[in-house]
């Protein structure tokens, strides 16, 4: 393999792909990134057998601003950590890479690195996915779906299904749901694009989606999503993102939404978030980060105390309140996560009682819902 490439193009590709390089593994080869060049393009990929990322840089010889000139095709696996640090620090905007056997010689300006590589034939190949069926979303919409839900996935490997986000496509809507069995986040969107799927349910690892959200652009680039029996493929621009799906059945979450409410609150999301964050400062040390919320028709009182440190009380005024007065205790982190996702608009909270879940959503928008289970007062 012999080629000349623009440093920035190479660096961006390496940084995106590097998210699929594991931090700890028993297989040395997985610490590497695979570079493969044919006459048209350079393919850069990494695959830890859970997440795989591949990105292509095309050679455009007719263009004045050609990012890549390939003189001889070939491939090599290079250690991800070193190759990225090296490329980042190279002195000139152009890089020449010459590969002989399993050694890469990287030239830029007056610097020459000779980097020992690994055998590309030993590198695992990415899953093969047929791309005929799938649906298309805008990158920023997909990012929003992920960011509004992914924080609620469970961290405990005891129940693998709950460490993933449930993607559900049905009758023109796509929904993402995540729950750790104490709280739940769900975002639904309407899609009018015709798709190849009748209805679909897939559990995608939360970790994969967190990484995906970091590499998809923050604009209206179109993103194609393909789901097979056990693999997800998301493709956009020149990049392909693969993830294993979690096997098993996701619990039925439709039934855990309470159907009748005893109190209803409308409040400015930003005010409430600031107030909860202040109260949370003193709740950090207790086990469930418990704060108390006293709901009264005229005002809301948020308080928390820590026996060794001290206590805080703050009142906020709701825009409106109806129903019974009530004392709720809940995990401050859950509330903060949900309020951050909901943003600064007016939000609506429906309470069912001390021992059952309350529901938060944007006023007049029931597509973005958060459900939180209070902590029982007796337990504090």
């Amino acid at each position: 393999m012999r080629l000349v490439i623009k440093k920035n193009e190479l660096l961006h590709a390496l940084q995106d792909v590097q998210r699929a390089v594991p931090t700890r593994t028993t297989k040395m080869i997985l610490y590497g990134i695979l570079l493969h060049a044919d006459y048209e393009k350079l393919e850069i990929s990494a695959y830890d057998q859970e997440i795989g990322i591949k990105t292509n840089i095309s050679s455009l010889p007719d263009q004045e601003d050609n990012p890549l000139q390939i003189e001889e095709p070939g491939s090599i696996v290079l250690n991800a950590k070193y190759v990225i640090e090296i490329v980042r620090k190279l002195p000139q905007p152009l890089v020449r890479i010459d590969v002989q056997d399993f050694t890469a010689i990287i030239h830029s300006g007056n610097a020459t690195y000779t980097l020992n590589g690994m055998d590309p034939r030993e590198y695992p190949s990415l899953p093969e996915i047929h791309e005929e069926v799938g649906f298309t979303l805008q990158a920023d919409t997909l990012k929003m779906l992920i960011e509004h839900t992914v924080f609620a996935v469970s961290n405990s490997e005891v129940r693998p299904t709950l460490t993933g986000i449930l993607l559900k496509y049905q009758e023109g809507t796509i929904s993402f749901s995540a729950t750790d069995s104490h709280r739940l986040a769900m975002q639904t969107i309407e899609v009018d694009v015709p798709t190849g799927y009748e209805a679909i349910e897939a559990i995608i690892p939360g970790k994969s989606l967190t990484e995906l959200a970091k590499i998809i652009p923050d604009d209206d680039t179109l993103v194609n999503i393909h789901i097979t029996q056990n693999q997800l493929l998301v493709s956009f621009a020149n990049t392909y993102f693969y993830s294993r799906l979690i096997e098993g059945n996701y619990p039925d979450i439709s039934r855990i939404f309470p159907s009748s409410f005893r109190s209803n609150l409308q409040i400015d999301g930003k005010n409430l978030l600031d107030c909860i964050e202040r109260a949370a400062l003193l709740a950090r040390d207790n086990e469930n980060q418990v704060i108390r919320i006293q709901l009264k028709p005229s005002f809301i009182e948020v308080s928390s105390h820590s026996p060794e440190i001290g206590k805080i009380t703050e009142t906020v005024e709701p825009e409106s309140f109806s129903g019974e007065a009530m004392l709720i205790a809940c995990n401050a982190k859950f509330l903060i996560d949900a309020l951050r996702a909901l943003g600064s608009a007016t939000i609506k909270i429906d309470f069912t009682g001390q021992g059952s879940a309350f529901v938060l959503y944007e006023l007049n928008n029931d597509q973005h819902v958060h459900l939180i289970l209070p902590v029982r007062i007796g337990n504090i």
Binding site: K27, R159, T161, T179, S181, H182, P251, I256, G355, P374
Partner: protein
């Protein structure tokens, strides 16, 4: 004399095998952990149940009683939802509460 290349390949093979072995042990250890935890929970649960029914007494359950047992079990700190039945519970669980309401 043993071929050096072959020796190297054998060592490499061994390294791979040790890698697999290591993963296997890791997986088994996790499994053992789960089993031990489950065993402990079952022992506690069993003792509680024995206490409650009185050892040796005939057990008779009626629909109302089953629900009560589930509720007691939940109050004693165990999951009763189908996702995680019988494991130790930290805080309340949305799915358990849903099951309790339904029964």
């Amino acid at each position: 004399m043993v071929d050096k290349q072959e020796l190297f390949q054998r060592v490499e093979l061994l390294q791979d095998q040790i890698g697999h072995f290591y993963q296997e042990i890791g997986a088994l250890k996790l499994l053992l952990n789960e089993l031990l935890e489950e065993n402990q929970n079952l022992m506690v649960e069993n003792a509680n149940l024995r206490d409650r029914v009185g050892f040796g007494e005939e057990e008779k359950t009626t629909p109302g009683e089953a629900k009560k047992y589930l509720r007691d079990l939940y109050e004693d700190g165990f999951h009763i939802c189908n996702i995680n039945y019988g494991s130790l519970r930290k805080g309340d669980c949305l799915f358990c509460l849903e099951s309790l309401q339904r029964t």
